[in-house]
């Protein structure tokens, strides 16, 4: 037939990929110029902010950034091989950390001298005559930056040229710079006479040490390319439990040697100071001994025992280490209780009860002992690996087979953090943990069942949260309509009732609507969520008290025989209550995922028709997912209502439903740790950004972060294994060499 029409890509200038990329980079830098800065429009002059942003000379800087990005992208393929060299990634991470420490993090929270940023502190410090000259030099404007750039540049040169001399020079400069920063900062702090609440200098020191380590790695490495995963696996595979011992050593050193144990009047009292401070008080002998010598001994002993057990891979020694660690942990807690109680009895710093005015030291020690006990446990349960698995280096590097103890170690790290980080945090972060992060983590766990496991898009999830909250408000008598006297309950007893009511609500919403598919279900659930909120606002039958909400929901309390626990205003108690709830839910859901029901969910998520054909009662299974998710949300509602003590319909707006979905997908659909991490990160981020960007712009930055995250990591922070398989096929995740990309990439996400 007829002759062909010749058309090849790259015909018009605009379709030239280079031109397109250049335009894209410039456009992005333009948007960045709009995002950064103080401009804000006014009613009088609508275009003012826009002109400020783009017509001043500042736009040139942003365009320059655009050009740099363009150059970087264009030469990326040439740069990439260098990026696989040993040392380059730690170098980048270290550099980033130092920049963050210098530019973003607080170096002091002393309101007398700064508004919390490095620059202000440096102004004040560089003019203070009483400061040692060396430290003053450090705070003189560009010097720390210059030194950082020198260290970074030498390190980078070392990595690229691979000359050992350069590496060692770089490492030396980095160490010097780090120590200088640390020293200068601690001088300023001692001059200010207040304890250091910030760790900005510590972050900088860590960053510099990372750079130094990168240089050292470059000098020492015989290989041409780095393999991070192989390295990590190698560390874990060498001796199960050993990594935990290593971390415990660092934490323990910090806890026993440096950190504050007790801080009445904001004193920096290390363990030694604390021991002498309490030498004359009525502290119990055990605690006195603990502060004086027992603590050190226990630390040394359990550390040595755990290390030896790990080295020998001896199960019996492992059990011993675990036991010793736990005993030490208990003794440590007893000592902490004692010193804070004694402190409170003299009303130091307004303390009213035990567990107040404690510093970070004791908690670090707690974490240390927990990790050591965990290391012992891992050794004990891993058994003698030497005989059973002949493992080659290559196997380990490729991550073939299970690395013994790796997941247990991760769980232990998380547990140690969850148990002992919050007491060290500021009241603000403690509050954020219980009133935002924790609650949304619980909600995300619940929604993960619906969205992640059963694959049903629910945009009205917050409705069940509302139902849980209002149920609590009713049964504690905080609503205009009072329950009969015999039905009045304490908030904790509302949990089972809220679960039942949410189950019923979930089923009654699900039953008529679950035969709708995907997006239809989404809009119906969205409608349901709005209906619940509007009912709460409109207050039919004067049940919900309308927009005024329910005030005076009591705090939870437990009175069981001799046990009396009363949750007051203190955030920490709620945190531990929440830990128990979340822990129980995780345990239950973990079982659920592995169960028949979990497999049924996976089946209907992947192919509903096929699932039906294999005998899965899809409606029932979906209903179950709905109901289980709903009841989790109900529990969160009870917790929320009784913790804040006040609820109103504004807490249950549509936006919150959408946010929970975003948390789950952001973290990784269908993955329990993912959903939790997603919720935690995205609730943490706005609070973190509070001090970093203008408050009004926070949501803009969050939007940008979500967007970037989804672009570069569409499967989420911690993708589920099963989901990853659905995405990439059942084999290894797609590698760089994959070029068989269908021309219709991603089209028709429905399969």
């Amino acid at each position: 037939m007829s002759a062909s029409v010749q058309r090849r890509p790259g015909e018009s200038i605009l379709s030239n990929p280079l031109v397109g990329r250049a335009l894209g980079c410039l456009a992005l830098s333009f948007v960045l110029a709009l995002m950064i800065g103080k401009q804000e429009g006014t009613q009088q002059d609508f275009g003012l902010a826009f002109r400020q942003a783009v017509l001043g000379p500042r736009i040139l800087w942003f365009l320059l950034i655009g050009v740099l990005v363009f150059v970087l992208l264009t030469f990326w393929p040439r740069v990439q091989p260098y990026l696989n060299r040993p040392g380059i990634r730690p170098l980048a991470v270290g550099g980033l950390t130092v920049v963050v420490a210098y530019a973003l993090l607080k170096w002091t929270d002393s309101t007398a001298v700064s508004d919390g940023k490095f620059g202000t502190l440096s102004d004040a410090a560089s003019q203070t005559g009483t400061l040692a000259p060396l430290a003053r030099t450090f705070f003189t404007a560009p010097l720390p930056w210059v030194l950082f750039l020198v260290a970074f540049a030498v390190g980078a040169a070392a990595v690229v040229i691979r000359r050992a001399v350069l590496s060692w020079v770089g490492a030396a400069i980095a160490v010097l710079a780090g120590v200088w920063a640390w020293y200068s900062h601690s001088l300023v702090q001692s001059l200010l006479g207040s304890p250091d609440h910030s760790t900005g200098a510590l972050v900088a020191l860590l960053g510099f040490l990372t750079i130094a380590a990168a240089c050292a790695a470059t000098a020492l490495s015989a290989e041409e390319s780095a393999n991070t995963r192989g390295f990590i696996n190698g560390v874990f595979a060498w001796r199960p439990g050993m990594p935990l011992v290593g971390v415990a050593l660092l934490l323990g050193l910090a806890g026993f040697a440096i950190a504050t144990w007790f801080s009445p009047g904001n004193r920096n009292a290390t363990l030694v100071d604390t021991a002498s401070m309490f030498s004359t008080t009525g502290l119990s002998p055990l605690s006195k001994a603990y502060l004086g010598w027992l603590g050190y001994v226990l630390f040394a002993l359990s550390l040595a025992l755990a290390a030896y057990a790990a080295y020998r891979r001896d199960a019996r020694l492992g059990w011993g280490a675990a036991g010793l660690g736990l005993v030490s942990l208990v003794l440590n807690l007893v000592a902490l209780h004692d010193i804070s109680a004694v402190g409170a009895s003299t009303a130091y710093d307004g303390a009213t009860g035990a567990w107040q005015n404690l510093g970070t030291g004791g908690w670090l020690a707690c974490a240390t002992f927990l990790l050591l006990a965990g290391a012992g446990y891992i050794v004990a349960t891993a058994g003698s690996e030497r005989g059973t698995i002949a493992r080659t280096k290559a196997d380990i590097a490729a991550g073939i087979g299970k690395i013994p103890g790796k997941s247990k170690a991760l769980i232990l790290f998380v547990l140690a953090g969850a148990l002992f980080y919050p007491p060290m945090a500021t009241p603000f972060w403690q509050k954020v943990l219980v009133s935002e992060i924790g609650i949304y983590v619980l909600l995300a766990i619940g929604l993960n069942v619906v969205v992640g496991w059963a694959g049903l898009l629910d945009l009205g999830f917050i409705a069940f949260y509302a139902i849980g909250s209002y149920t609590t408000a009713y049964f504690v008598g905080a609503l205009p309509i009072q329950p009969p006297e015999w039905m009045r309950l304490s908030p904790l007893l509302c949990i089972p009732i809220a679960i039942i009511i949410c189950l019923i609500a979930g089923v009654s919403l699900g039953a008529p609507t679950l035969r709708l598919r995907g997006d239809y279900l989404a809009i119906v659930t969205l409608g349901f969520g709005e209906i619940i909120r509007i009912v709460a606002v409109n207050n039919p039958g004067n049940f919900t008290n309308g927009p005024r909400g329910a005030f005076g929901i009591p705090q939870p309390e437990i009175h069981l025989g001799p046990i009396h626990i009363d949750w007051g205003q203190a955030s920490l108690q709620y945190w531990y209550l929440l830990l128990v709830i979340v822990g129980l839910v995780i345990l239950a859901f973990n079982r659920l995922e592995q169960s028949r029901l979990g497999r049924a969910w996976a089946a209907i998520r992947e192919d509903e028709v096929a699932a039906q054909a294999t005998g899965v009662n899809t409606t029932r299974v979906k209903l179950l997912a709905f109901a289980i998710g709903a009841s989790t949300s109900g529990v969160a509602g009870v917790f929320f209502a009784s913790q804040i003590g006040y609820i109103n319909p504004d807490n249950f707006v549509l936006n919150n439903s959408i946010l929970v979905v975003a948390y789950v997908v952001f973290g990784g659909m269908g993955s329990l740790p993912g959903a939790m991490a997603g919720a935690a990160v995205l609730t943490w981020l706005p609070e973190f950004l509070k001090d970093q960007v203008p408050a009004e712009d926070r949501q803009m930055w969050i939007g940008a972060v979500i967007l970037l995250m989804m672009i570069f990591r569409p499967a989420g922070l911690i993708p589920a294994k099963r989901r990853a398989a659905e995405l990439h096929g059942l084999d290894e995740p797609s590698s760089a060499e994959t070029t068989a990309v269908a021309a219709n990439e991603g089209m028709g996400a429905t399969k």
Binding site: E40, D519, G527, V535, L707, G746, G748
Partner: protein
């Protein structure tokens, strides 16, 4: 009767705006099977963009001749449509195409769109202002009745007429475009079976881009109409967006005529709530239940017709 007709006209006015926005959802759903959550911000940017242009030509308190008003209206619609189209195009480029390239799961698109939505609405707030009641200059008497519906006292005001007429014109134009032109055929081809459409010589990426542009233009024009009738702000998109999404589903998502019908129906139902017989002093279904009524209607329709009033047409019925 008069009152009923008055409410009906109000409903049609609001409904035609819903319909215009719903078209954006439905078009994108047609080609990608995705809910474009950021479409509400396209609508919002249309309002801001057209304000910047219109504000240059007219100012408060002017009284223009009818042909000048027509001209300004046309200019407003055009600039709203242009800005909307540009934002929608950028949106597709940034929040959708990279994810498509990576074969992201369906919900990832939803979340990237939500991120984009946050970003755009807050960026608009930062650049212009965060006031909730920015207004277009009043350069003609919007509320002057144009004509009275025969047989009753119900009237149609200028602005209502303008909104309904321009929406109808745009919808007819779109309907012709999709059913009668090559561009329309490529959109339908991609909607029904993208890989096969590619085999026919249709550039899928380009078609998707163009679909976003068309939907964005309609949404941007709706933004202008909305801003002229009511007010505009950086968070104006959310509620009409949700309603229009509901309207698109009501009509049968992916179905262009369905979106039009769904939008009009939803607008009318919402505005007819006060005429319900049991609405009265102390009545149960007062105005504050409007949204509940709207969603109940939606749920009822979906329970009896699980794919919306007209069913799916543009997209494949998977």
């Amino acid at each position: 009767m008069t009152d009923f007709l008055n409410y009906l006209v109000l409903g049609l006015t609001r409904g035609s705006m819903y319909a215009l926005i719903a078209l954006g959802y439905t078009l994108v759903y047609g080609v990608l099977q995705l809910i474009n959550f950021a479409h509400s911000e396209v609508f919002m940017s249309g309002a801001f963009g057209s304000y910047l242009i219109v504000g240059m030509f007219v100012h408060d308190g002017q009284h223009l001749a009818w042909w000048q008003v027509t001209l300004v209206m046309f200019l407003g619609l055009l600039s709203g449509a242009l800005v909307g189209a540009a934002v929608a195009w950028g949106l597709e480029r940034v929040a959708y195409r990279p994810l498509r390239r990576r074969g992201a799961p369906k919900l990832a698109f939803l979340i990237s769109a939500i991120g984009m939505s946050f970003f755009l609405s807050q960026l608009a707030g930062k650049l212009f202002n965060r006031l909730s009641q920015n207004q277009f200059p009043s350069y003609f008497d919007q509320n002057k009745a144009v004509f009275t519906i025969p047989g009753s006292g119900a009237t149609v005001s200028r602005i209502q007429l303008i909104v309904i007429v321009s929406a109808v014109i745009m919808m007819v134009f779109l309907d012709r475009l999709v059913s009668g032109t090559k561009l329309g055929r490529s959109i339908r081809g991609v909607a029904e079976d993208a890989p096969t459409a590619a085999l026919m010589g249709i550039d899928i990426d380009k078609t998707i881009s163009r679909t976003f542009i068309i939907g964005g233009a309609l949404g941007g024009a709706a933004g202008f109409l909305f801003g002229t009738t009511f007010v505009f702000s950086n968070i104006m998109g959310f509620i009409p967006g949700v309603k229009a999404f509901a309207a698109a589903v009501l009509g049968g998502i992916g179905n262009i005529r369905g979106a039009m019908i769904g939008g009009l129906l939803l607008g009318v139902v919402e505005n007819l709530v006060p005429t319900f017989p049991w609405n009265g002093s102390g009545g149960w279904i007062g105005l504050q239940w409007t949204d509940v009524v709207a969603f109940v209607v939606l749920v009822l329709v979906l329970v009896f017709r699980p794919t919306g009033i007209l069913g799916e047409r543009l997209g494949r019925a998977a």
